[in-house]
Amino acid sequence: MIRTEELLLNVGPQHPSTHGVFRIIVKLDGEVITEATPVMGYLHRGTEKLAEDLNYTQIIPYTDRMDYVSAMTTNYVLCHAVEKMMGLEVPERAEFMRLIVMELQRVASHLVWWGTYLLDIGAMSPFLFAFRDREIIINLFNELCGARLTYNYMRVGGVKWDAPPGWIEQVRDFIPYMEGKLDEYHNLVSGNEIFLARIRGVGRYDAETAINFGLSGANLRSTGVDWDLRKSKPYSLYDRFEFDVPLGRNGDCYDRYNIRLEEVRQSLRILKQAVEQFPGPGDVMGKVPRVIRPPAGELYVGIESPRGEIGCHIVSKGKAEPYRLKFRRPSFVNLQILPKLLVGETMTNLITILGGIDIVVGEVDC
Protein backbone atom coordinates (compact mmCIF):
# COMPACT_ATOMS: atom_id res chain seq x y z
CA MET A 1 0.00 0.00 0.00
CA ILE A 2 1.41 3.34 -1.01
CA ARG A 3 1.17 6.03 1.62
CA THR A 4 -0.20 9.24 0.16
CA GLU A 5 -0.51 12.59 1.77
CA GLU A 6 -2.19 15.82 0.93
CA LEU A 7 -0.12 18.60 -0.53
CA LEU A 8 -0.64 21.99 1.04
CA LEU A 9 0.01 24.52 -1.68
CA ASN A 10 0.24 28.22 -1.10
CA VAL A 11 -1.07 30.01 -4.16
CA GLY A 12 -0.13 33.64 -3.81
CA PRO A 13 0.25 36.30 -2.58
CA GLN A 14 2.98 36.42 -5.20
CA HIS A 15 1.55 34.36 -7.98
CA PRO A 16 1.10 35.44 -11.59
CA SER A 17 -2.59 34.62 -11.75
CA THR A 18 -3.99 35.93 -8.51
CA HIS A 19 -4.39 39.39 -10.01
CA GLY A 20 -2.45 41.21 -7.37
CA VAL A 21 -1.76 40.14 -3.83
CA PHE A 22 -4.47 37.62 -3.20
CA ARG A 23 -3.67 34.32 -1.59
CA ILE A 24 -5.38 30.95 -1.58
CA ILE A 25 -4.19 28.06 0.51
CA VAL A 26 -5.24 24.89 -1.25
CA LYS A 27 -5.05 21.31 -0.13
CA LEU A 28 -4.26 19.14 -3.09
CA ASP A 29 -4.81 15.47 -3.62
CA GLY A 30 -2.70 14.98 -6.72
CA GLU A 31 -3.93 17.94 -8.72
CA VAL A 32 -7.42 17.88 -7.28
CA ILE A 33 -8.30 20.48 -4.69
CA THR A 34 -9.88 19.13 -1.52
CA GLU A 35 -10.01 22.37 0.39
CA ALA A 36 -9.39 26.00 -0.45
CA THR A 37 -9.01 28.87 1.98
CA PRO A 38 -8.77 32.35 0.52
CA VAL A 39 -6.66 34.79 2.49
CA MET A 40 -7.24 38.41 1.80
CA GLY A 41 -6.13 41.70 3.23
CA TYR A 42 -2.69 42.11 1.69
CA LEU A 43 -3.83 45.29 0.01
CA HIS A 44 -5.93 46.60 2.86
CA ARG A 45 -5.46 50.31 3.29
CA GLY A 46 -8.35 51.10 5.57
CA THR A 47 -10.16 53.33 3.10
CA GLU A 48 -13.36 53.25 5.12
CA LYS A 49 -11.62 54.20 8.35
CA LEU A 50 -9.54 56.88 6.67
CA ALA A 51 -12.69 58.35 5.23
CA GLU A 52 -14.00 59.13 8.70
CA ASP A 53 -11.36 61.81 9.05
CA LEU A 54 -11.74 63.28 5.59
CA ASN A 55 -14.36 65.50 4.07
CA TYR A 56 -16.34 64.22 1.14
CA THR A 57 -14.24 65.86 -1.56
CA GLN A 58 -11.13 64.35 -0.08
CA ILE A 59 -12.61 60.86 -0.10
CA ILE A 60 -13.06 60.89 -3.87
CA PRO A 61 -9.35 60.26 -4.62
CA TYR A 62 -9.47 57.33 -2.21
CA THR A 63 -12.34 55.74 -4.11
CA ASP A 64 -10.16 55.86 -7.23
CA ARG A 65 -7.79 53.50 -5.53
CA MET A 66 -10.42 51.03 -4.46
CA ASP A 67 -11.46 49.57 -7.78
CA TYR A 68 -8.55 50.91 -9.76
CA VAL A 69 -9.62 49.15 -12.93
CA SER A 70 -12.92 50.99 -12.90
CA ALA A 71 -12.31 54.18 -10.92
CA MET A 72 -15.07 56.16 -12.61
CA THR A 73 -17.85 54.00 -11.18
CA THR A 74 -16.41 54.14 -7.66
CA ASN A 75 -16.15 57.91 -8.03
CA TYR A 76 -19.74 57.99 -9.06
CA VAL A 77 -21.16 55.88 -6.27
CA LEU A 78 -19.77 58.17 -3.59
CA CYS A 79 -20.82 61.38 -5.32
CA HIS A 80 -24.22 59.95 -6.10
CA ALA A 81 -24.77 58.92 -2.50
CA VAL A 82 -23.82 62.35 -1.15
CA GLU A 83 -25.97 64.10 -3.75
CA LYS A 84 -28.92 61.94 -2.88
CA MET A 85 -28.48 62.63 0.80
CA MET A 86 -28.30 66.36 0.27
CA GLY A 87 -30.89 66.42 -2.49
CA LEU A 88 -28.55 68.16 -4.91
CA GLU A 89 -29.41 68.75 -8.54
CA VAL A 90 -26.79 67.73 -11.06
CA PRO A 91 -26.77 69.64 -14.35
CA GLU A 92 -27.78 67.53 -17.32
CA ARG A 93 -24.51 68.03 -19.11
CA ALA A 94 -22.58 66.83 -16.08
CA GLU A 95 -24.80 63.78 -15.79
CA PHE A 96 -24.18 63.00 -19.45
CA MET A 97 -20.46 63.33 -18.96
CA ARG A 98 -20.65 60.97 -16.01
CA LEU A 99 -22.63 58.43 -17.95
CA ILE A 100 -20.27 58.55 -20.90
CA VAL A 101 -17.16 58.09 -18.80
CA MET A 102 -18.79 55.31 -16.79
CA GLU A 103 -19.71 53.38 -19.91
CA LEU A 104 -16.25 53.94 -21.41
CA GLN A 105 -14.89 52.71 -18.13
CA ARG A 106 -17.03 49.61 -18.31
CA VAL A 107 -15.61 48.86 -21.75
CA ALA A 108 -12.07 49.47 -20.50
CA SER A 109 -12.60 47.34 -17.43
CA HIS A 110 -14.01 44.44 -19.39
CA LEU A 111 -11.08 44.70 -21.79
CA VAL A 112 -8.66 44.35 -18.90
CA TRP A 113 -10.64 41.39 -17.68
CA TRP A 114 -10.71 39.79 -21.11
CA GLY A 115 -6.99 40.21 -21.64
CA THR A 116 -5.93 38.96 -18.25
CA TYR A 117 -8.38 36.09 -18.30
CA LEU A 118 -6.95 34.82 -21.54
CA LEU A 119 -3.49 35.31 -20.11
CA ASP A 120 -4.49 33.12 -17.19
CA ILE A 121 -5.69 30.49 -19.59
CA GLY A 122 -2.40 30.63 -21.43
CA ALA A 123 -2.93 32.75 -24.53
CA MET A 124 -0.82 35.84 -24.45
CA SER A 125 -1.81 37.78 -27.54
CA PRO A 126 -5.32 38.75 -26.36
CA PHE A 127 -3.79 40.66 -23.48
CA LEU A 128 -1.94 42.97 -25.82
CA PHE A 129 -4.90 43.23 -28.19
CA ALA A 130 -7.08 44.32 -25.28
CA PHE A 131 -4.58 46.78 -23.91
CA ARG A 132 -4.07 48.33 -27.32
CA ASP A 133 -7.75 49.27 -27.39
CA ARG A 134 -7.97 50.10 -23.72
CA GLU A 135 -5.15 52.56 -24.30
CA ILE A 136 -7.47 54.62 -26.50
CA ILE A 137 -10.02 54.91 -23.70
CA ILE A 138 -7.30 55.71 -21.19
CA ASN A 139 -5.99 58.43 -23.46
CA LEU A 140 -9.49 59.86 -23.75
CA PHE A 141 -9.70 59.98 -19.96
CA ASN A 142 -6.26 61.50 -19.78
CA GLU A 143 -7.37 64.29 -22.06
CA LEU A 144 -10.53 64.77 -20.08
CA CYS A 145 -9.27 64.77 -16.52
CA GLY A 146 -5.51 64.51 -16.63
CA ALA A 147 -5.00 61.04 -15.27
CA ARG A 148 -4.86 57.62 -16.79
CA LEU A 149 -5.95 55.41 -13.93
CA THR A 150 -6.95 57.35 -10.81
CA TYR A 151 -9.21 59.92 -12.32
CA ASN A 152 -10.65 61.85 -9.41
CA TYR A 153 -12.99 63.20 -12.04
CA MET A 154 -16.37 63.47 -10.38
CA ARG A 155 -17.33 65.91 -7.68
CA VAL A 156 -20.34 66.13 -5.46
CA GLY A 157 -22.80 68.00 -7.63
CA GLY A 158 -21.15 67.55 -10.98
CA VAL A 159 -17.87 66.79 -12.63
CA LYS A 160 -14.58 68.57 -12.40
CA TRP A 161 -13.98 69.16 -16.09
CA ASP A 162 -16.18 69.83 -19.05
CA ALA A 163 -15.35 67.87 -22.19
CA PRO A 164 -12.47 69.53 -24.05
CA PRO A 165 -13.17 70.58 -27.63
CA GLY A 166 -13.40 67.60 -29.94
CA TRP A 167 -13.58 65.08 -27.12
CA ILE A 168 -17.14 63.98 -27.77
CA GLU A 169 -16.26 63.52 -31.44
CA GLN A 170 -13.37 61.28 -30.43
CA VAL A 171 -15.74 59.16 -28.37
CA ARG A 172 -18.08 59.00 -31.33
CA ASP A 173 -15.26 57.77 -33.56
CA PHE A 174 -14.19 55.25 -30.98
CA ILE A 175 -17.54 53.43 -30.96
CA PRO A 176 -17.43 51.93 -34.48
CA TYR A 177 -13.72 51.23 -34.04
CA MET A 178 -14.36 49.26 -30.89
CA GLU A 179 -17.25 47.39 -32.47
CA GLY A 180 -14.87 46.23 -35.19
CA LYS A 181 -12.28 45.22 -32.66
CA LEU A 182 -14.87 43.25 -30.71
CA ASP A 183 -15.44 41.12 -33.79
CA GLU A 184 -11.70 40.65 -34.02
CA TYR A 185 -11.64 39.44 -30.41
CA HIS A 186 -14.36 36.93 -31.16
CA ASN A 187 -12.41 35.70 -34.16
CA LEU A 188 -9.21 35.47 -32.18
CA VAL A 189 -10.53 33.64 -29.15
CA SER A 190 -14.22 33.01 -28.77
CA GLY A 191 -14.43 30.15 -31.23
CA ASN A 192 -11.18 28.55 -30.20
CA GLU A 193 -11.89 24.92 -29.35
CA ILE A 194 -9.17 24.68 -26.74
CA PHE A 195 -10.49 27.77 -25.02
CA LEU A 196 -14.07 26.54 -25.10
CA ALA A 197 -13.02 23.20 -23.68
CA ARG A 198 -11.26 25.04 -20.88
CA ILE A 199 -14.21 27.18 -19.79
CA ARG A 200 -17.39 25.28 -20.69
CA GLY A 201 -19.03 23.80 -17.64
CA VAL A 202 -16.29 25.03 -15.34
CA GLY A 203 -17.23 26.77 -12.11
CA ARG A 204 -20.95 26.06 -12.34
CA TYR A 205 -23.51 27.18 -9.82
CA ASP A 206 -27.23 27.77 -10.00
CA ALA A 207 -29.28 30.90 -9.54
CA GLU A 208 -30.27 30.07 -5.97
CA THR A 209 -26.68 29.63 -4.85
CA ALA A 210 -25.71 32.83 -6.57
CA ILE A 211 -28.42 34.79 -4.81
CA ASN A 212 -27.63 33.20 -1.46
CA PHE A 213 -24.02 34.22 -1.80
CA GLY A 214 -25.07 37.74 -2.76
CA LEU A 215 -23.34 37.64 -6.11
CA SER A 216 -23.95 40.42 -8.56
CA GLY A 217 -22.90 41.53 -11.99
CA ALA A 218 -21.96 39.00 -14.60
CA ASN A 219 -21.50 36.36 -11.91
CA LEU A 220 -25.19 36.56 -11.10
CA ARG A 221 -26.47 37.13 -14.61
CA SER A 222 -24.64 34.05 -15.88
CA THR A 223 -27.22 31.98 -13.99
CA GLY A 224 -30.07 33.69 -15.79
CA VAL A 225 -31.15 36.13 -13.09
CA ASP A 226 -32.11 39.36 -14.79
CA TRP A 227 -30.61 41.84 -12.35
CA ASP A 228 -28.75 44.82 -13.67
CA LEU A 229 -29.10 47.93 -11.55
CA ARG A 230 -28.99 50.10 -14.63
CA LYS A 231 -32.30 48.54 -15.62
CA SER A 232 -33.72 47.25 -12.34
CA LYS A 233 -33.21 50.42 -10.31
CA PRO A 234 -32.25 53.04 -12.87
CA TYR A 235 -29.90 55.71 -11.66
CA SER A 236 -28.19 58.52 -13.56
CA LEU A 237 -29.76 58.70 -17.02
CA TYR A 238 -29.90 55.01 -17.82
CA ASP A 239 -33.68 55.00 -18.14
CA ARG A 240 -33.31 57.21 -21.20
CA PHE A 241 -31.32 54.71 -23.22
CA GLU A 242 -32.09 51.47 -24.90
CA PHE A 243 -29.90 48.53 -24.11
CA ASP A 244 -30.19 44.85 -23.34
CA VAL A 245 -28.98 42.96 -20.34
CA PRO A 246 -27.19 39.85 -21.58
CA LEU A 247 -28.08 36.75 -19.61
CA GLY A 248 -26.58 33.30 -19.36
CA ARG A 249 -28.21 29.98 -18.64
CA ASN A 250 -25.68 27.56 -17.21
CA GLY A 251 -23.85 29.74 -14.73
CA ASP A 252 -20.42 28.58 -15.89
CA CYS A 253 -17.30 30.47 -16.90
CA TYR A 254 -18.33 30.31 -20.53
CA ASP A 255 -21.52 32.23 -19.83
CA ARG A 256 -19.67 34.81 -17.80
CA TYR A 257 -17.20 35.23 -20.62
CA ASN A 258 -19.95 35.78 -23.17
CA ILE A 259 -21.89 38.12 -20.91
CA ARG A 260 -18.92 40.37 -20.35
CA LEU A 261 -18.10 40.63 -24.03
CA GLU A 262 -21.75 41.26 -24.82
CA GLU A 263 -21.86 43.95 -22.15
CA VAL A 264 -19.09 45.72 -24.01
CA ARG A 265 -21.34 45.78 -27.07
CA GLN A 266 -24.28 47.07 -25.03
CA SER A 267 -22.10 49.75 -23.47
CA LEU A 268 -21.13 50.87 -26.92
CA ARG A 269 -24.81 51.00 -27.78
CA ILE A 270 -25.49 53.24 -24.78
CA LEU A 271 -22.52 55.40 -25.68
CA LYS A 272 -23.78 55.81 -29.21
CA GLN A 273 -27.13 57.12 -27.97
CA ALA A 274 -25.51 59.26 -25.29
CA VAL A 275 -23.20 60.94 -27.75
CA GLU A 276 -26.13 61.64 -30.07
CA GLN A 277 -28.26 63.14 -27.32
CA PHE A 278 -25.39 65.03 -25.73
CA PRO A 279 -26.76 68.42 -24.60
CA GLY A 280 -25.36 71.77 -25.67
CA PRO A 281 -22.98 73.91 -23.63
CA GLY A 282 -23.87 74.42 -20.01
CA ASP A 283 -22.64 74.10 -16.49
CA VAL A 284 -21.01 70.91 -15.39
CA MET A 285 -21.18 71.80 -11.72
CA GLY A 286 -24.43 72.19 -9.83
CA LYS A 287 -25.11 74.61 -7.02
CA VAL A 288 -23.20 73.06 -4.17
CA PRO A 289 -22.65 74.62 -0.76
CA ARG A 290 -19.09 75.62 0.00
CA VAL A 291 -18.75 72.92 2.63
CA ILE A 292 -20.52 69.68 1.94
CA ARG A 293 -22.48 68.63 5.01
CA PRO A 294 -25.08 65.98 4.39
CA PRO A 295 -27.92 66.04 6.90
CA ALA A 296 -27.79 63.56 9.76
CA GLY A 297 -29.05 60.17 8.72
CA GLU A 298 -28.18 57.07 6.77
CA LEU A 299 -28.34 56.26 3.10
CA TYR A 300 -27.38 53.36 0.89
CA VAL A 301 -26.95 53.69 -2.84
CA GLY A 302 -26.03 50.86 -5.17
CA ILE A 303 -24.96 51.15 -8.78
CA GLU A 304 -23.81 48.69 -11.39
CA SER A 305 -20.05 48.62 -11.67
CA PRO A 306 -18.38 46.35 -14.25
CA ARG A 307 -17.95 43.78 -11.48
CA GLY A 308 -21.43 43.97 -10.01
CA GLU A 309 -23.33 46.02 -7.50
CA ILE A 310 -21.08 48.55 -5.87
CA GLY A 311 -22.76 50.29 -2.98
CA CYS A 312 -22.01 53.17 -0.70
CA HIS A 313 -23.57 53.40 2.73
CA ILE A 314 -23.11 56.74 4.45
CA VAL A 315 -23.89 57.41 8.08
CA SER A 316 -23.80 61.13 8.62
CA LYS A 317 -24.06 63.14 11.80
CA GLY A 318 -24.40 66.35 9.86
CA LYS A 319 -20.68 67.04 9.83
CA ALA A 320 -18.35 67.60 6.91
CA GLU A 321 -16.87 64.17 7.52
CA PRO A 322 -18.92 61.00 7.42
CA TYR A 323 -19.51 59.29 10.74
CA ARG A 324 -19.16 55.95 9.03
CA LEU A 325 -18.67 55.09 5.41
CA LYS A 326 -19.15 51.62 4.09
CA PHE A 327 -18.56 50.43 0.57
CA ARG A 328 -20.21 47.28 -0.66
CA ARG A 329 -17.47 46.05 -2.93
CA PRO A 330 -18.67 43.59 -5.56
CA SER A 331 -15.28 41.87 -5.89
CA PHE A 332 -15.27 41.10 -2.19
CA VAL A 333 -18.79 39.74 -2.17
CA ASN A 334 -18.37 37.77 -5.37
CA LEU A 335 -15.23 36.18 -4.02
CA GLN A 336 -17.10 34.52 -1.17
CA ILE A 337 -18.30 31.73 -3.42
CA LEU A 338 -14.74 30.78 -4.38
CA PRO A 339 -13.99 28.14 -1.68
CA LYS A 340 -17.23 26.38 -2.52
CA LEU A 341 -16.50 26.35 -6.24
CA LEU A 342 -12.94 25.13 -5.89
CA VAL A 343 -13.53 21.88 -4.01
CA GLY A 344 -13.09 18.98 -6.40
CA GLU A 345 -11.58 21.06 -9.17
CA THR A 346 -8.06 20.79 -10.49
CA MET A 347 -5.27 23.28 -10.02
CA THR A 348 -5.82 24.48 -13.59
CA ASN A 349 -9.49 25.14 -12.98
CA LEU A 350 -8.62 27.18 -9.91
CA ILE A 351 -7.13 29.77 -12.21
CA THR A 352 -10.04 29.57 -14.65
CA ILE A 353 -12.62 30.02 -11.90
CA LEU A 354 -10.78 32.75 -10.04
CA GLY A 355 -10.26 34.65 -13.28
CA GLY A 356 -13.90 34.14 -14.22
CA ILE A 357 -15.11 35.82 -11.04
CA ASP A 358 -13.21 38.95 -12.09
CA ILE A 359 -11.80 40.38 -8.90
CA VAL A 360 -9.78 43.52 -8.39
CA VAL A 361 -7.73 43.05 -5.27
CA GLY A 362 -7.75 46.74 -4.46
CA GLU A 363 -11.48 46.44 -4.11
CA VAL A 364 -11.48 43.13 -2.27
CA ASP A 365 -9.20 44.46 0.42
CA CYS A 366 -10.30 48.05 0.13
Partner: protein
Protein backbone atom coordinates in the same frame (compact mmCIF):
# COMPACT_ATOMS: atom_id res chain seq x y z
CA UNK B 1 -10.97 23.37 -35.70
CA UNK B 2 -12.63 26.33 -37.40
CA UNK B 3 -12.27 28.63 -34.43
CA UNK B 4 -8.66 27.66 -34.05
CA UNK B 5 -7.89 28.52 -37.66
CA UNK B 6 -9.76 31.80 -37.38
CA UNK B 7 -7.59 32.75 -34.45
CA UNK B 8 -4.45 31.82 -36.34
CA UNK B 9 -5.69 34.01 -39.18
CA UNK B 10 -6.10 36.99 -36.88
CA UNK B 11 -2.58 36.72 -35.53
CA UNK B 12 -1.12 36.20 -38.98
CA UNK B 13 -2.86 39.28 -40.30
CA UNK B 14 -1.73 41.41 -37.42
CA UNK B 15 1.90 40.65 -38.26
CA UNK B 16 1.99 43.22 -40.99
CA UNK B 17 -0.29 45.79 -39.39
CA UNK B 18 0.95 49.06 -37.96
CA UNK B 19 2.61 48.67 -34.59
CA UNK B 20 1.53 50.59 -31.52
CA UNK B 21 4.83 50.61 -29.69
CA UNK B 22 6.08 54.07 -28.77
CA UNK B 23 9.77 54.80 -28.39
CA UNK B 24 9.19 56.39 -25.02
CA UNK B 25 12.53 57.11 -23.39
CA UNK B 26 13.93 58.32 -26.71
CA UNK B 27 10.90 60.35 -27.68
CA UNK B 28 9.32 61.98 -24.62
CA UNK B 29 5.58 61.58 -24.24
CA UNK B 30 3.72 64.86 -24.42
CA UNK B 31 0.80 64.73 -22.08
CA UNK B 32 -2.42 66.61 -22.77
CA UNK B 33 -2.80 70.02 -21.14
CA UNK B 34 -5.02 68.76 -18.35
CA UNK B 35 -2.51 66.15 -17.26
CA UNK B 36 -1.87 66.11 -13.54
CA UNK B 37 1.87 65.84 -13.19
CA UNK B 38 4.34 67.11 -10.63
CA UNK B 39 3.23 70.46 -9.29
CA UNK B 40 4.84 73.76 -10.19
CA UNK B 41 4.83 76.29 -7.36
CA UNK B 42 5.26 80.04 -7.73
CA UNK B 43 6.25 81.58 -4.37
CA UNK B 44 5.40 85.10 -5.53
CA UNK B 45 1.77 84.28 -6.05
CA UNK B 46 1.26 82.43 -2.78
CA UNK B 47 -0.71 84.23 -0.10
CA UNK B 48 -0.12 81.55 2.55
CA UNK B 49 -3.83 80.79 2.90
CA UNK B 50 -3.08 77.18 3.86
CA UNK B 51 -5.99 75.86 1.78
CA UNK B 52 -3.87 73.37 -0.13
CA UNK B 53 -2.58 71.91 3.11
CA UNK B 54 -6.09 71.52 4.45
CA UNK B 55 -7.56 69.92 1.35
CA UNK B 56 -4.71 67.48 0.75
CA UNK B 57 -6.14 64.00 1.43
CA UNK B 58 -2.73 62.50 2.22
CA UNK B 59 -1.28 65.46 4.10
CA UNK B 60 1.78 65.57 1.93
CA UNK B 61 2.12 69.37 1.79
CA UNK B 62 3.83 71.31 4.55
CA UNK B 63 4.30 75.07 4.41
CA UNK B 64 5.37 77.91 6.63
CA UNK B 65 4.88 81.60 6.10
CA UNK B 66 6.64 84.64 7.43
CA UNK B 67 5.72 88.26 7.75
CA UNK B 68 6.04 90.30 4.60
CA UNK B 69 9.58 91.76 4.46
CA UNK B 70 8.13 94.87 2.83
CA UNK B 71 6.80 96.73 5.91
CA UNK B 72 4.27 98.68 3.86
CA UNK B 73 2.46 95.55 2.75
CA UNK B 74 0.22 93.45 4.91
CA UNK B 75 -0.09 89.70 5.02
CA UNK B 76 2.40 86.93 4.85
CA UNK B 77 4.74 85.56 2.26
CA UNK B 78 5.72 81.98 1.86
CA UNK B 79 8.84 80.80 3.65
CA UNK B 80 9.05 77.08 3.03
CA UNK B 81 6.88 74.89 0.89
CA UNK B 82 7.50 71.16 0.66
CA UNK B 83 5.67 68.36 -1.03
CA UNK B 84 6.49 64.79 -0.11
CA UNK B 85 6.11 62.84 -3.32
CA UNK B 86 6.34 59.56 -1.48
CA UNK B 87 2.74 60.06 -0.47
CA UNK B 88 1.41 62.68 -2.89
CA UNK B 89 -1.24 61.05 -5.06
CA UNK B 90 -1.42 63.88 -7.59
CA UNK B 91 -5.14 64.16 -7.03
CA UNK B 92 -5.33 67.78 -8.21
CA UNK B 93 -7.19 69.03 -5.14
CA UNK B 94 -4.44 71.47 -4.04
CA UNK B 95 -4.47 73.21 -7.40
CA UNK B 96 -8.24 73.15 -7.37
CA UNK B 97 -8.53 75.16 -4.16
CA UNK B 98 -5.62 77.53 -4.67
CA UNK B 99 -7.16 81.00 -5.04
CA UNK B 100 -4.17 82.54 -6.80
CA UNK B 101 -2.99 79.63 -8.92
CA UNK B 102 0.29 79.66 -7.06
CA UNK B 103 0.37 75.89 -7.22
CA UNK B 104 -0.44 74.40 -10.59
CA UNK B 105 -0.02 71.06 -12.27
CA UNK B 106 2.51 70.36 -15.01
CA UNK B 107 2.79 67.69 -17.64
CA UNK B 108 5.93 66.20 -16.10
CA UNK B 109 5.62 62.81 -14.54
CA UNK B 110 9.10 61.36 -14.19
CA UNK B 111 9.81 60.99 -10.51
CA UNK B 112 11.85 57.80 -10.38
CA UNK B 113 14.94 58.07 -8.25
CA UNK B 114 17.39 55.90 -6.39
CA UNK B 115 16.58 57.31 -2.99
CA UNK B 116 13.38 58.05 -1.15
CA UNK B 117 14.95 61.24 0.12
CA UNK B 118 14.97 62.60 -3.41
CA UNK B 119 11.19 62.48 -3.43
CA UNK B 120 10.94 65.20 -0.82
CA UNK B 121 10.75 68.32 -2.96
CA UNK B 122 11.24 71.81 -1.57
CA UNK B 123 10.05 75.19 -2.76
CA UNK B 124 13.07 75.86 -4.95
CA UNK B 125 12.71 72.59 -6.79
CA UNK B 126 8.98 73.08 -7.30
CA UNK B 127 9.62 76.60 -8.56
CA UNK B 128 12.18 75.36 -11.07
CA UNK B 129 9.79 72.70 -12.28
CA UNK B 130 8.32 75.16 -14.74
CA UNK B 131 8.08 73.29 -18.02
CA UNK B 132 4.74 72.10 -19.46
CA UNK B 133 2.79 74.09 -16.92
CA UNK B 134 -0.93 73.56 -17.19
CA UNK B 135 -2.77 76.44 -18.80
CA UNK B 136 -6.37 75.78 -17.88
CA UNK B 137 -6.63 75.18 -14.16
CA UNK B 138 -10.37 75.37 -13.61
CA UNK B 139 -10.27 75.83 -9.85
CA UNK B 140 -13.88 75.20 -9.03
CA UNK B 141 -13.13 75.22 -5.34
CA UNK B 142 -11.70 78.72 -5.34
CA UNK B 143 -13.82 81.72 -4.34
CA UNK B 144 -15.79 83.09 -7.25
CA UNK B 145 -13.87 86.36 -7.23
CA UNK B 146 -10.52 84.67 -7.69
CA UNK B 147 -11.75 82.44 -10.45
CA UNK B 148 -10.66 84.81 -13.17
CA UNK B 149 -11.18 83.94 -16.78
CA UNK B 150 -9.99 80.40 -16.55
CA UNK B 151 -13.10 78.43 -17.10
Amino acid sequence: MKGLLKGLGVTLQSMTKKKVTTSYPDVPIVMPDRFRGIQHFEPDKCIVCNQCVRICPTECITLTGKANPDPEKKGKVIDTYDINFEICILCDLCTEVCPTEAIVMTGNFELASYSRDDLFKDMQWLDDNNRNVRQDNNNIGAPAAAKGGAK
